[in-house]
């Protein structure tokens, strides 16, 4: 008779797939890198690379300190999730901000946005967006004024001193905005405070093909990581190929921004611009990289569609009637808070479940 041996016991299954959370996070990091190259091309090393580098360093450091204080495994600081938070926070800052702004924002994002809730997987809202909201509330001038124009860093802004907009548009803007906050979304918002004829001219200037092309290629004023739309889409494509990204949130969100941007984005009903709504501001960055943060968005398929739809509507409402020209980040934060409720009301029909008719 053969000798008896003993073995490890554990719950089934005894097999796993090669997916790992680390791989998911680093895929997101890889997908965000093309847009960083775009940002450096537009805003220079000081304007774009420095905030990202110090933002990431601060996020990882803050994560490490928190884990250390809580006597948890500090290697989790390098699981990639803090790196993603640091990059996204920096991408949501105006180019060329002082170095301490991303440091403060990242640290707040990690400590208050994530670790106080229990770390990865337990946070209620997107940490990077919470960090941005904190900076917006604390340093409104730094966060909304002083946008550097594309190529300003190499004194080659020829043609882009107007932040990608026709000169006629900028000349109509209130002086303070034209000098310090000249983004297309600010111009769009200002247009509603003008004589109706002038406002109409501004909106026409913003939606002419030349301006839209500048929006698409990133040659316009905006946050440092949000303007390189083509490169952001390239990163998103990579995430789709790697099956990290589910199509439901990005498509419902962008579709919702386009639809409601057209319906509600203009002075009356149905005279907004769907194309301008999607290409301006941060909705491409937000739709593919922030509204899709897995931890803070629904897990159900229907819930993801509801999330995107709701965030899109809120984005347009804030842009049109809110206090800020851009509503992307607040719309996502608000929908993050609604996520547990959305999951609860969008539970899918179970296999074999016969729903009772009311």
């Amino acid at each position: 008779m053969a000798e008896t041996r003993t073995f490890q016991v554990s719950m089934s299954p005894h097999f796993g797939s090669p997916h790992s959370t680390r791989r998911v996070m680093f895929d997101v990091v890889i997908a965000l890198l093309p847009a960083l190259l775009g940002a450096v091309w537009l805003f220079g090393l000081r304007g774009a690379l420095l905030p990202v580098v110090v933002g990431v360093a601060a996020a990882v450091a803050a994560e490490f300190v928190c884990l250390r204080l809580m006597k948890r495994d500090t290697s989790a600081a390098l699981d990639g999730s803090a790196i993603v938070t640091g990059i996204l926070l920096a991408y949501n800052l105006p180019p060329g901000v002082p170095w301490w702004l991303p440091v403060l924002g990242s640290a707040f994002a990690i400590v208050v946005g994530k670790q106080v809730f229990g770390g990865l997987g337990s946070n209620l809202v997107n940490p990077a967006l919470l960090g941005r909201a904190f900076l917006m509330a604390s340093f409104p001038v730094l966060m909304t004024a002083g946008w550097s124009a594309p190529f300003e860093w190499r004194n080659a802004a020829a043609g882009f001193e107007t932040h990608g907009m026709p000169a006629s548009v900028v000349s109509e803007m209130p002086v303070a905005d034209a000098v310090t906050g000249a983004t297309p979304l600010r111009a769009w918002k200002d247009s509603f405070g003008m004589e109706s004829h002038d406002g109409q001219a501004v909106r026409e200037g913003l939606t002419d093909p030349g301006t839209l092309m500048n929006l698409l290629t990133g040659r316009r004023g905006g946050c440092l990581g949000e303007t390189s739309i083509i490169l952001l889409l390239l990163g998103a494509l990579y995430l789709f190929v790697r099956k990290v990204l589910d199509w439901r949130i990005p498509f419902s969100y962008l579709g919702s921004v386009a639809l409601f941007g057209w319906i509600l984005g203009g002075p009356g009903f149905f005279d907004g611009s769907a194309v301008f709504s999607v290409l301006s501001g941060g909705v491409i960055l937000g739709g593919f990289f922030m509204a899709t943060d897995m931890v803070t968005t629904p897990v159900t398929h229907a819930g993801r569609l509801v999330f995107g739809l709701g965030a899109g509507l809120l984005t347009v409402v804030i842009r049109r009637w809110g206090g800020y020209p851009e509503g992307c980040s607040y719309s996502i934060l608000l929908m993050n808070l609604a996520t547990p409720l959305i999951d609860r009301f969008t539970k899918p029909r179970m296999f074999g479940e016969v729903r009772k008719h009311a």
Binding site: M1, R5, F7, H14, F15, G121, M294
Partner: protein, 437 residues
């Protein structure tokens, strides 16, 4: 080629069927000592009817049926009872087994062979299946005579033989269909006759072309299934082939379907045609942890280590030994456990293959939601179970989970989702029982 049939959800783990898939079934001798468990089937264990020192002959009843959902247990050998022993068993922590010293494995058929089953009545055949101690050979081990006796008012119109064998590594059903085609076909005909069904089919995954050819060649309606786990789950198989869904909390017979395993069909054929009780089965022994994977026709009561020895012994750094496949199989503490009627395979996993035992936090990526064949939200059920919010877990359908392991398989954080959900199931059922009491 017609479109492959399948169900929504599921995953496709590496199959590893090539390890044992080509190895012909090898009949091995019963060991000097067999340990025959009295609770090999689902339901009440058999009552022991032999004592130490008794002589028994092959096929003799050593445990009697104990209630309707129960079965008799037979001795696989002629020999002497050495005693009754409480011992670890592959499918439960421990149970009573009859220990028999083997003299021989020869002897006349324990029951009268019926070469022509059509001259018998369905009731006679069901009685034979019961007396032969036949239970489902696919894993759950539900007594077959109960499955073939639908309650009054339930009409069965379809019989589906389960030849999907979707667990990685396992090839016992595959080899059976190829090498003992006639037994499978006869068993199907007998069960169709007993149930009086209009439609019979065998569901086989596409990765077993020789089995598909063998059964098609025998004139059987073969439904070719997509290779996907858990295609061999009863509910998913019925959905794939008939489009019908077993209602929540219901049974296949509620929608007119009965699904026995191909191994069960062969056992039925042997009981009716040859007068043989259920005392042997085909066991796949595979995994990177054995030298020469193969398929063995072994007596129940044969210890796992004997079968490992037949497969050339352990190879490499074996950390886990499974009864069954890697998705739903049960990790064994010791290889001294005996083969039972439900032991479809023994898989030895090396450290490199076996799933890690450390888990990370849930990042709510939703992969488990996409993959769950029962359309549950495994991550949310598990999160509630972890906090012991049993009522919330129940609202989310925890009781509907069949523990197929698909969710844990795809989880990037290697979470023990099945473990949490099973804990919730136990707690919910316990609460229900104490409420009723």
């Amino acid at each position: 080629m017609t479109k492959l049939r399948t169900f929504p959800g599921g995953v496709h783990p590496d199959e590893y069927k090539e390890l044992a898939g080509k190895a012909a079934i090898r009949r091995i001798k019963a060991p000097e000592t067999v340990r025959v468990a009295l609770c090999q089937h689902l339901g009440a264990p058999s009552k022991p009817v032999v004592a130490k020192g008794d002589k028994v002959v092959r096929g003799q009843e050593i445990g009697s049926q104990n209630g309707y959902v129960s079965l008799p247990t037979h001795s696989p050998v002629t020999g002497t009872v050495a005693g009754l022993e409480e011992m670890p068993l592959p499918h439960r922590r421990s149970g009573l087994a009859v220990v028999i010293e083997t003299d021989s494995e020869d002897g006349p058929p324990p029951f009268e062979p019926w070469p022509d089953f059509t001259s018998r009545t369905p009731a006679e055949i069901i009685e034979r299946i019961r007396l032969a101690g036949i239970c489902g050979m696919g894993g759950a081990s539900f007594p077959t005579h109960v499955k073939l006796s639908p309650p009054d008012g339930k009409r069965i119109d379809t019989l589906i033989l389960n030849g999907a064998e979707c667990e990685p590594y396992l090839t016992a059903d595959h080899r059976l269909m190829v090498e003992r085609t006639a037994d499978v076909v006869l068993g199907m005909k007998i069960m169709a006759f007993v149930l009086g069904v209009e439609r019979c089919a065998v569901g086989i995954e596409e990765n077993k072309p020789d089995a598909i050819a063998a059964l098609s060649g025998a004139g059987v309606d073969v439904e070719v299934l997509k290779v996907k786990y858990p295609q061999g789950s009863e509910k998913q198989l019925i959905k794939a082939i008939t489009g019908r869904e077993v209602p929540v909390g219901g049974l296949p017979l509620d929608i007119g379907v009965v699904v026995p395993n191909v191994g069960t069909a062969a056992a039925v054929a042997q009981a009716v045609r040859d007068g043989e009780p259920s005392i042997r089965r085909i066991v796949t022994v595979s995994g990177a942890g054995v030298r020469a994977p193969g398929n063995f026709d072994a007596a129940v009561g044969t210890p796992f280590h004997d079968l490992i020895a037949e497969a050339g012994g352990y190879a490499g750094d074996v950390c886990r030994l499974l009864s069954g496949g890697p998705m739903m199989g049960i990790a064994q503490f010791t290889d001294a456990v005996p083969v039972t009627k439900g032991t479809s395979g023994i898989v030895a996993l090396t450290t490199a293959e076996a799933r890690k035992l450390t888990e990370g936090p849930c990042i709510k990526c939703g992969r488990c939601v996409d993959a769950c064949p029962m359309k549950l939200l495994p991550c949310l059920i598990a999160a509630n179970a972890e906090k012991e919010k049993w009522d919330r877990a129940e609202e989310l359908g925890a009781l509907n989970c069949m523990a197929c392991g698909t969710c844990s398989f795809v989880c990037p954080s290697d979470r023990f989702l099945v473990h949490y959900i099973k804990r919730a199931q136990d707690a919910i059922r316990a609460a229900k029982r104490s409420k009723e009491a």
